[in-house]
């Protein structure tokens, strides 16, 4: 019986390992391998845990380039400003830092071309917390020095994977829209200026749709909002300055929908006067 479950477990683990290669093959592998090509999977980690519980999992790193690479791990705390720009901080310096609880291995490893390495991480979290986060960086150095003669430079790729751990008992994310402003841009598009904040204790990646129709019925088009799935972190205020278009100069009706929590959607219709 133990052998039976052991075989099952090994099959599943093997399938999981190959699935990273499968994703690479399906979504982005070029016909010819690039000279330097590195991939990580998953690229965002969001874990919801019970108080006092631990978390553990893997991040797969694949060297699909032509040269061997020395891969080293680094951690960074990060904050996100009102415009969505992330700012790195030394690990363990932010109140929301997951760095003191995180263990990840191996810290450095040589990865041959076409090889995948699984980095395993784990964290034992305290009983009282709501939201922790950290950025895991994979620094990819060439094994040998490449610039030798004269003046030159070497580019070292570094990929970041944000890891979020949230307490299942924390207040769920809830977006409050403070203001929204629509106008025409000089380039013939629609311009939206949106200010909102997350009143919850957990992340939200709001998804939205902007449906623009002309009054004469000749134009009807749907635009995605936040297609890059940017998060609004707990207690964070966020501004979005977005253009949608081009749109005609006629009178327009704008139907805007935005997820504001796991169960709620903001929905308003705005009338935009014809351009003069």
């Amino acid at each position: 019986m133990d052998d039976h479950f052991d075989r099952q477990r090994r099959l599943i683990e093997t399938a999981i390992r190959y699935s990273a290669a499968a994703i690479l093959a399906v979504v982005g592998a070029p016909a010819l391998p690039a000279q330097t090509s590195v991939a990580i999977s998953p690229h965002i980690i969001e874990k919801v845990v019970r108080p006092g519980q631990g978390l553990s999992d893997i991040v797969s790193f694949t060297n699909s380039g032509k040269e061997p690479a020395q891969v080293s791990l680094e951690l960074a705390d990060f904050t996100v400003d009102e415009n969505g720009k992330a700012h790195d901080r030394p690990p363990g310096t932010e109140p929301s830092s997951l760095a003191p609880f995180l263990r990840i291995a191996p810290p450095t490893v040589r990865v041959a071309p076409q090889q995948t390495v699984n980095f395993r991480y784990s964290a034992q979290l305290p009983a009282a917390f709501t939201h922790y986060r950290v950025m895991i960086y994979f620094l990819v150095r060439p094994v040998t020095a490449l610039v030798a003669n004269g003046a030159g430079f070497l580019i070292v790729p570094r990929l970041g994977v944000p890891l979020y751990a949230e307490n299942i008992g924390a207040k769920p994310a809830s977006l409050h829209i403070d203001s929204i402003f629509w106008a025409r841009s000089p380039e013939g598009s629609l311009y939206a200026d949106l200010q909102l904040r997350n009143d919850g204790q957990r992340n939200i990646r709001p998804q939205g749709l902007v449906f623009v129709r002309s009054a004469n019925g000749r134009f009807a088009r749907q635009f995605p909002f936040n297609e890059g799935r940017e998060p609004v972190l707990p207690s964070q205020s966020r501004q979005w300055h977005v253009t949608f278009g081009p749109v005609p100069r006629d009178d327009l009706s704008v139907d805007f929908r935005l997820t504001t929590s796991a169960t709620k959607t903001f929905h308003e219709t705005y009338e935009i006067a014809a351009a003069r």
Binding site: L11, A39, H43, A105, G160
Partner: protein
């Protein structure tokens, strides 16, 4: 044995064998845990002369270019003042880059650190990174930025969505080297850490 278990595993193996990449896997020598692999983020850099590096060759304040380097690497040199000294060396499209993300996400690319080693005291190295199709609301690039002697980080391109297929983000990196009349010829190499991430 529950035969239904093999169906998803079989599909995964088919997917794995269908593509152009066959990846060997190495485990770190630590605990075995449940795994949850989803999504992928790929960063590719292709140098015009080699994978991760570019050499201007031997440079000096007169703007001379080594014939070998000029021919093979396409370096353009300009002597700003032939009698007195300073010069610029430029290599357009020194690198091409690509970012693939599934699912789609907003990505930033920036210089997170840089170091310099060598015997030559060179004025400045500047990089210019452009994205094909432009950046949201900001033209095609953030302009030429000087490689910092030390952190903090410097944006090259940022805030663009990257996906797969037609939504793959790509562009080029141009390099510009300024050699001042006070600089001493010799060997000099910058190591530039280029970070790609999102939140």
């Amino acid at each position: 044995m529950d035969k239904s278990l093999f169906r998803p595993i079989g599909i995964m193996f088919m997917l794995a064998s269908a593509g152009s990449i066959s990846a060997a896997t190495v485990d770190s020598p630590t605990l075995s845990v449940s795994a949850n692999v989803q999504g992928v983020f790929i960063f590719q850099i292709n140098g015009s002369t080699s994978g991760q590096s570019f050499s201007f060759g031997q440079v000096n304040a007169q703007g001379d270019v080594s014939p070998t380097i000029a021919t093979s690497s396409g370096v353009t040199a300009t002597a700003e003042s032939p009698s007195g000294g300073s010069a610029t060396y430029e290599k357009l499209s020194a690198f091409t880059w690509q970012v693939v993300s599934s699912p789609r996400r907003t990505v930033n690319i920036y210089i997170s650190s840089a170091s310099r080693a060598g015997t030559m005291n060179v004025g400045q190295l500047l990089l210019h990174m452009t994205k094909t199709g432009g950046l949201p609301g900001a033209g095609t690039s953030a302009g030429y930025v000087a490689v910092p002697a030390a952190p903090p980080s410097t944006d090259l391109v940022g805030g663009f969505p990257a996906g797969t297929g037609a939504n793959t983000a790509s562009g080029i990196i141009d390099a510009h080297l300024q050699v001042l009349d006070t600089d001493t010829p010799g060997t000099n190499t910058w190591t530039i850490t280029l970070t790609a991430n999102g939140v």
